[in-house]
């Protein structure tokens, strides 16, 4: 749950990037960090193994400025996507206010995407969050660029059917390595999250 400090008129929101291993979550945060680093004081923290796999999480905090008199402090996290790190994933999801689900568009990743979404739903249930009950979640279908290299991709209709039929969340096609639609995804996630907190803000 967001930390809302009425006296200091400050709101802290936590958005977590979730999805199958190697799907591009860390790449999303790295691109965001590079685009905003000149205007934020904070640094990005990544805890990785000596390859580039996320071991614990990535963490990118920044101060968004004022909205309706409230200072909005945003914290973006990624979880490790690898199946074996579920304990860590669950821990990072504690207190989450919004989700970005980064799906991997490669055809071979179809089952992994579905399993990752199921795992997310299960982990959120642990925190009494019902993802189908107006919970802010954004879908990102990443690695669309791989089509140019002749790699078989899932078409958007298939991905929508697999992952978003029941949720009906806003979705973006993206190429995180090139930064395409990375910022729009983050913006949408932040605004959906703030709007879901509206009753507390009012």
């Amino acid at each position: 749950m967001a930390v809302i400090n009425i006296r200091k008129r400050e709101v802290q929101i936590k958005i977590v990037y979730v999805g199958p291993g190697r799907g591009g979550k860390t790449t999303n945060l790295e691109y965001l960090f590079n685009s905003i680093r000149h205007r934020i004081q904070s640094d990005m923290v990544s805890i990785k193994t000596h390859g580039d796999r996320t071991l614990f999480f990535d963490f990118l905090p920044f101060d968004l400025g004022q909205i309706q008199g409230y200072r909005i402090k945003t914290q973006l996290y990624t979880v490790p996507g690898q199946v074996k790190y579920n304990a860590t994933r669950k821990l990072v999801l504690k207190g989450v206010d919004g989700i970005v689900f980064v799906a991997d568009s490669m055809a071979v990743m179809r089952e992994k995407n579905i399993a990752a979404l199921e795992n997310l739903i299960e982990n959120l249930t642990f925190y009494d969050i019902d993802i189908y009950d107006r919970f802010p979640i954004i879908m990102q279908y990443n690695k669309r660029d791989l089509a140019d290299e002749g790699i078989p991709l899932l078409d958007i209709a298939t991905m929508q059917g697999d992952l978003n039929a029941k949720l009906n969340a806003p979705f973006f096609e993206a190429c995180a390595v090139r930064g395409e639609n990375v910022i729009p995804t983050a913006k949408k996630a932040i605004s959906a999250t703030i709007i879901s907190l509206q009753d507390h803000l009012a």
Binding site: Y31, N34, S35, I36, H38, R39, T49, H50, L55, L64, G65, Q66, I67, Q68, I72, K84, R178, G179, E180, N181, V182, I183, P184, A186, K187, I190, S191, I194, I195, Q198, D199, L201, A202
Partner: protein, 208 residues
């Protein structure tokens, strides 16, 4: 919350997000090449001068140059950095000892120009003017270091005072000593790196 209050909230959020991230128009165009890569190339040169890190530095500099074509001040420093990189790549250990110092300084100032959006025009120009001065000085020193061209008038040699020659010798010896120290450090670094790697492997095994 009623409907109008909600739509006001939505538009407030959107404009704040646009202010913060930019209006998103830049999203589909090529992203700003990051200074990070250049920085790591420059830092590794400070550590050890290799062909690989020099050509990394030159490539990254050129990428940034095409991005900053419209900004003559930053562009000037980038050109200077590329020039210094070319020089060091050609001369290697024989390059002037101040050349790497200049590389560091020019890079630090490029970083300032790009990151510090509050700098006034005058301050930006000042930064570049100082670098140009230092660069010219280095250039003069480098030129006076060069052996006289074959067929050049012999007076070129005779103008060299014995003190100059002594300084040159000193300098040459100094270079040799430096090279020896560098070699030694390089070997030690290698063994340290290997140790760190094996520790990381152990740590990873413990964690999984």
């Amino acid at each position: 919350m009623d409907k109008t209050a909600k739509s006001k909230l939505v538009s407030d959020i959107e404009s704040q997000l646009d202010d913060f991230f930019g209006d998103g128009l830049g999203d589909t165009s090529s992203p700003t090449p990051s200074l990070e890569k250049l920085k790591s190339a420059v830092l590794s040169i400070d550590w050890e001068i290799t062909d690989a890190c020099l050509s990394d530095m030159i490539t990254e500099t050129e990428l940034l140059m095409s991005h900053f074509e419209e900004d003559p001040v930053t562009h000037a420093l980038l050109r200077m950095l590329r020039g210094l990189g070319d020089y060091v790549r050609k001369r290697k250990a024989r390059s002037h000892p101040d050349a790497i110092k200049r590389v560091m300084s020019v890079f630090a100032n490029i970083e300032t120009l790009i990151n510090d959006t509050h700098l006034e025009k005058r301050q930006r120009k000042n930064i570049v003017a100082k670098e140009i001065q230092a660069f010219k000085k280095l250039k003069q020193q480098v030129e006076s270091q060069k052996p006289p061209l074959r067929g050049a008038p012999s007076q070129a040699i005779s103008t060299q005072t014995p003190a100059d020659v002594a300084a040159l010798l000193e300098h040459h010896k100094f270079k040799q000593a430096m090279n020896a120290v560098e070699e030694r450090l390089g070997a030690e670094m290698k063994s340290l790196k290997a140790q760190v790697q094996s520790l990381q492997k152990q740590l990873a095994a413990l964690r999984s």
